[in-house]
Structure formats: structure tokens, C-alpha cells
């Protein structure tokens, strides 16, 4: 087994779904680099590691650089055919604390498959906002208060970020669509250089929904176009996952505790319409409808 035995993730956690699918798609021929975060603490405890593949955790912010180092070592030691270098990193490690190192790795176009497992906050430390937290979401550092209605900023656009570095393969996927994720992992490793896949991973614990609904919530993010599923090769949009009948964003928001306040807060209506505008913008930009 490449991943699973003995991990201690929460009920309904999306991370093992993503990890298992990627590792199976790549036949376990992976050197995994994993920064500090939910996945790391639930899988790498001494004496009960859940990893059946070579695995390294160094610090919170340096996974891209450690991955670069592994790829250089494999190359110079003549071991480059031994396996792929794969990073599984949370959104905080990817888009916040480690973003400079990710930029550096993409700039050098190092031969690494970087997978961001986006649960939209620092869930390991208890749901503090990250730059991937959605507008309006209530987190422990952007709580919905009488005056401030949760998070007030837009998400950092990591797809545009990856594309801006000339990254040969850039895609998004979701744990709602394991087949899509597996195909993309396989496609990604056909490219020499850096590959970036941003995977939507709804967190029942932090987002406050029932652990049995993880896949359903992930599906709604796609169906409302709040999380577009797209694929770029050499900077060109080659494929999108079209939405048959796009749903209003309320459908996604109302099933999660983190957005509940929007339906009664005086500022809530304004935020919901801004989120709808963002969804419309996504649909237009990528031609999702």
C-alpha cells in the first residue's frame, strides 16, 4: 500500500483521497515531499508512518526546495528514472509561507510535480485563514463578528501564479473527481520540468459540515463555478470540466457552517453577490457553462 496504513486524519478528511489517487496513478514511484500541516501530522508519526513510498518532511515553508534538491540529486547520481518527485502541500504552505520557494522552484522549472491540497485554511492548527480562504468565510482569525462578516479579501490566484512562471503543466482538480485527478497526475509527469496541480479538498472539521458530505461539498464548489476545474499545457488552456447546469453560489454556501452568518449578517448579502460575481467571472474566463 502506498498510503493509508495508520494515518490519523479526521473522519471525512479529503486528503487521503487525493494522496491515494495520485500515488496509485503513478504506481507508487514517487519521492514524496510534504511540508508541515494536516497531512504531515496525521501520516508521519515516528513508528507508525502511513507512507509506503520514500517520504521527507523538513519544515513548513521549504517543500518546493527540498523537492528541487531531491530531483538534482537523482539526476546527478544517475537515478532519475527511479521515480517522480512529488510534493503534497497544504494551501498555507503553498500560497502563504512557502510561496517564495514555490516561485523559485517554478522559475528554475525543476522536475517536480507539485500538488497543492487546498482546504482553504490552516486546518492543522485549527482553521486560521490563509490566502486561499474564500471571501466571507468565518475562520478563527477572520471570525464573523458584529461588524466584520468573516474574511474580507479575495483568494490569491495560484493558477495565474503558476502560469506566470511559464510552468509547462498547470491544472486544477477536486477530490470529487478522482478519475480527473488520476488522469492529471499521469498527464503531468509526461512533462519535463515543473508541474502544478491545485486540488480542492473540503475540510469537514474546519468548514463545519457533516463528514459524510466531503465529496458532495467538493462537487458543489465545482457546480457553482467557485472552484473551476481547468488544465493548461505550456500556458494554453487545453481543457475545462464544463458545468451542465450551473448552480447559484448559495447552494454551496448554505451547506457549510463557515458561511452560515452570511445569510443573516447585514453585510452578508453584499458578500454573497460578490461571490456570485466571482463565480460568473470564473465561468466566463474559462468557458465553464
Amino acid at each position: 500500500m502506498f498510503f493509508g496504513k495508520g494515518h490519523s486524519a479526521c473522519y471525512g478528511c479529503p486528503l487521503p483521497i487525493a494522496v491515494r489517487n495520485v500515488l496509485e496513478a503513478l504506481d507508487g514511484r514517487c519521492f514524496v515531499v510534504n511540508p508541515t500541516g494536516c497531512l504531515e501530522v496525521t501520516s508521519s508519526q515516528y513508528g507508525r508512518s502511513a507512507w509506503g513510498v520514500p517520504y521527507i518532511h523538513s519544515t513548513f515553508e521549504n517543500a518546493p526546495s527540498v523537492a528541487s534538491g531531491i530531483s538534482y540529486a537523482l539526476e546527478v547520481l544517475g537515478r532519475e528514472n527511479e521515480g517522480y518527485v512529488v510534493v503534497f502541500a497544504g494551501d498555507g504552505a503553498t500560497a502563504d509561507i512557502g510561496v517564495g520557494y514555490l516561485s523559485s522552484m517554478l522559475h528554475r522549472n525543476d522536475n517536480v510535480l507539485y500538488i497543492c491540497l487546498d482546504n482553504e485554511a490552516y486546518q492543522n492548527t485549527g482553521n486560521q485563514q490563509s490566502s486561499q480562504t474564500f471571501l466571507g468565510a468565518s475562520t478563527t482569525t477572520t471570525p464573523a463578528g458584529r461588524v466584520i462578516p468573516g474574511k474580507t479579501l479575495r483568494r490569491k490566484d495560484m493558477i495565474a501564479f503558476a502560469l506566470a512562471h511559464g510552468t509547462p503543466y498547470v491544472a486544477t482538480s477536486s477530490i470529487a473527481f478522482p478519475r480527473d485527478l488520476r488522469r492529471k497526475a499521469k498527464r503531468a509527469v509526461e512533462f519535463v520540468g515543473s508541474k502544478y496541480i491545485h486540488v480542492h479538498c473540503p475540510c469537514p472539521t474546519g468548514w463545519h459540515f457533516d463528514p459524510s458530505k466531503t465529496v458532495e461539498v467538493a462537487r458543489l464548489a465545482y457546480e457553482t463555478a467557485l472552484f473551476p476545474i481547468v488544465e493548461f499545457e505550456y500556458g494554453r488552456l487545453v481543457r475545462v470540466k464544463k458545468i451542465k447546469r450551473r448552480k447559484p453560489v448559495e447552494e454551496y454556501l448554505k451547506v457549510q457552517g463557515r458561511f452560515r452568518h452570511l445569510f443573516k449578517h447585514p453585510e452578508g448579502g453584499r458578500i454573497i453577490s460578490e461571490l456570485q460575481r466571482i463565480a460568473n467571472e470564473n465561468a466566463m474566463r474559462f468557458g465553464l457553462d
Partner: protein, 379 residues
């Protein structure tokens, strides 16, 4: 082959002979020319089986080497000052993961105020990090220390840092008796890691350790660091047999009054000791600390005069703290003179003045020597 070269080249040339697989650094004065020299060798195809990577920060350089070292590559970086402390999170992590990365630190003061000049505050800040620290006196010593540092790192599985004084050594031209490939090959076998990241034997590196097992890891690290003293001595001895005997963990000359220091200050110190008929003690290995050797050497003398170039603010000179501790319960008087911070020159006269203060009973427990008159702002 004897050649007049600068300190940078003495380092870079020796690194080349050690055949590292991954070199990664970030520019910082006064280290930059070490990485420039290596970049030039790389560009000219002189580094075989080697990748030279330009990182976007020292933090990244160290992180790349963590990945490379865990995969089984021999690695090298050079840095100092702000760069070293930016690296420190990663280097401390590498020490815990027991990765034998070799680092040359070209000692430089820490900011603020900004100073590009020399003192030892940077490396001494990493005293407790689990990184082996060796201080060199001159460029011949640093040149010959590099193969030894690889052997020490790879036999103890600790990151090993050679500390050479910025500007005073890095920029100095000296005639260097350059090593040849045959000598280094004979001394330093290719790196065969006991464990590494590999698909055939998948291991978890950098595991998370809850309270029930964390402490054992740290105990083991401490025990191995203490044992490293023997391994370091063996390496020094082996080097002495094939090349030149530089001494053990310390270099010591007896006297009633003994001067103590490390790094390039040792040259001046030996000169003063000779002229004034005193003893001296050069600390070569600072961590692991040669506690027994220093205690044995100094316990029967009258005065120990430590020249320190790093301060533990709110206490005293950093090296002095360790020397005092090694002499606990013994009778010598220990005096600390904090000199040369931020590149302030330490000529013989300053040292002689310190010694005469001690010999005439005018010395204090510790003292900043060589201060100018200045107007203090009161908070």
C-alpha cells in the same frame, strides 16, 4: 603546488577536490566569491557529477541541500551572518535529520546596526543547534579542513560547519600549498549514506515525534555529538599522518597565564604569547566542546585570558562562558575581553594591554576592550 591565492579560492578549490554532487548558495558578503569561484569551475566543466544551483535565498539553498543530502548526494554551501541565521531553521532541521551537509561560514557580524565586517556572533548563535563547528586560523588550515570536514560530517552524520573569519581570511592573499586530487581521493572515499530516500527501500524522513519518543531522539543526538569528539580526533590524526599535523580539538602551549581564542585572532594571540612568555590555547572544535581537554590544559595555570568576539547580551563573552564552565571548581582566574566586534581591528597592542591589565590586577571579570568615547543615549 604552492600558489598565492585568496581565501575564497583556497576554499573553492578544496571543495572541488572533495567532489560534491550538489552545491547551492546565495550571495552574501564576504562569502560571495567562494560561490563565484565554484560557479566558474562549474561553467568550465571542472566539477564532475555535480549540479551547481543558484538559490533565491540562503534559506532555499539550505533546503535544497536537505533534499539532495537525504537522497544520498554530497553537498556544499557557504554563507555567513544574516544568511546563516536565515538558514538556521533548515540547518537545525538538517541536524535533527542527521544530514552531513558541509557549510563554510565566513564569519560576519549580525545586524543591527548593519555591518559586513567580521566577528563571531553569527556562528556562535548556532552553538546549540547540533551542528559541528570548527574554527580555522588561516587559509592553509581552511584549505586542508574541507576534506576533513566531509569525513567528519559523513562519519558522524552531523552537518559540519567550518568557520573562517570574513575579510581577514576570505579576502587575504596567502601562499597556499594546494592539495592534489590524489591526496584527497585517498583520504575521502565517495559518500555512501547509511540510509537514503529510495523507491526500493521507502523510509520516512523527518517524522513527527510526540512526547513519548521525542526526547530519545534528542538524547541520541547529544550522545553522538559527544562521541563525535573521538571521531574528529581520529580524522585530525589521519590527516596529520598523510599531510600535516594541525593538532587535536585544541592546540595548547603551557604558561602561568594562558591566552585563549579561536579563528584568525589566534595568529596575533600566538605572537603576543611568544613575546610576553605566556601560554596560549586555540580552540579548534567549538561544538562538540572539548571540555575535558580544556579543563586539563588550563586547570593549573594562574590566569586565563579569553579574547571573545561574540557577546551573550546580558551575560558576557560567549566563549568565556564555556571556558568558565569547563574550569568550574578549579582555581584559575578567568578574564574575558570582548574585542573586534563588527570588524574593529585587534592589533597586538590591544592584546598586550589586556594582558598587562590582568598581570597588574586591574582586569575585571569581563570588559569590552578597544571602545572609543561616545555619547550614550539613555532609555
Amino acid at each position: 603546488m604552492r600558489k598565492v591565492v585568496r581565501g575564497f579560492y583556497a576554499v573553492a578549490y578544496s571543495v572541488k577536490l572533495c567532489k560534491p554532487n550538489v552545491i547551492c548558495a546565495y550571495p552574501i558578503t564576504p562569502q560571495t566569491e567562494i560561490s563565484e569561484n565554484l560557479a566558474e569551475m562549474y561553467a568550465n566543466g571542472e566539477l564532475e557529477n555535480c549540479k551547481y544551483i543558484t538559490a533565491e535565498s540562503e534559506f532555499e539553498a539550505a533546503s535544497i541541500l536537505v533534499g539532495a543530502s537525504a537522497t544520498g548526494a554530497r553537498t556544499f554551501t557557504a554563507t555567513c551572518s544574516q544568511g546563516l541565521i536565515l538558514m538556521s531553521e533548515v540547518l537545525i532541521n538538517a541536524a535533527g535529520m542527521r544530514l552531513p551537509i558541509v557549510i563554510v561560514n565566513t564569519n560576519r557580524a549580525l545586524s543591527a546596526p548593519l555591518s559586513i565586517w567580521n566577528d563571531l556572533q553569527d556562528s556562535m548563535l548556532l552553538r546549540d543547534s547540533g551542528i559541528i563547528q570548527i574554527y580555522v586560523e588561516d587559509n592553509q588550515e581552511v584549505h586542508e579542513m574541507i576534506p576533513q570536514a566531509y569525513k567528519i560530517a559523513e562519519s558522524t552524520m552531523f552537518p559540519t560547519m567550518i568557520c573562517m573569519d570574513g575579510f581577514k581570511l576570505t579576502h587575504a592573499y596567502e601562499p597556499i600549498d594546494l592539495l592534489d586530487q590524489e591526496t584527497v581521493d585517498g583520504f575521502l572515499p565517495p559518500y555512501e549514506p547509511p540510509i537514503k530516500l529510495s523507491i526500493d527501500e521507502p523510509l520516512t524522513f523527518g517524522a513527527y515525534a510526540p512526547p513519548h519518543c521525542y526526547m530519545e531522539f534528542r538524547y541520541k543526538m547529544h550522545k553522538d555529538m559527544l562521541n563525535a569528539k573521538n571521531k574528529i580526533e581520529d580524522v585530525f590524526k589521519e590527516w596529520g599522518e598523510i599531510r600535516r599535523d594541525w593538532g587535536g580539538l585544541i592546540e595548547f602551549k603551557e604558561g602561568k597565564t594562558v591566552l585563549v581564542s579561536l579563528g584568525s585572532l589566534v595568529g596575533t594571540m600566538k605572537e603576543v604569547a611568544k613575546e610576553m612568555g605566556l601560554g596560549y590555547l586555540k580552540v579548534r572544535t567549538y561544538r562538540p566542546f572539548p571540555y575535558d581537554e580544556i579543563r586539563e590544559a588550563l586547570k593549573d595555570c594562574d590566569n586565563v585570558v579569553v579574547f571573545d568576539r561574540a557577546v551573550s547580551f546580558g551575560y558576557e563573552g560567549v566563549l568565556t562562558i564555556d571556558i568558565r564552565n569547563a574550569l568550574y571548581g578549579e582555581s584559575p582566574n578567568v578574564y574575558s575581553f570582548i574585542v573586534g566586534l563588527g570588524g574593529r581591528d585587534v592589533p597586538k597592542e590591544v592584546m598586550e594591554d589586556c594582558v598587562s591589565k590582568v598581570l597588574s590586577g586591574r582586569a575585571e571579570r569581563y570588559r569590552f576592550e578597544g571602545l572609543k568615547d561616545f555619547e550614550e543615549v539613555t532609555y
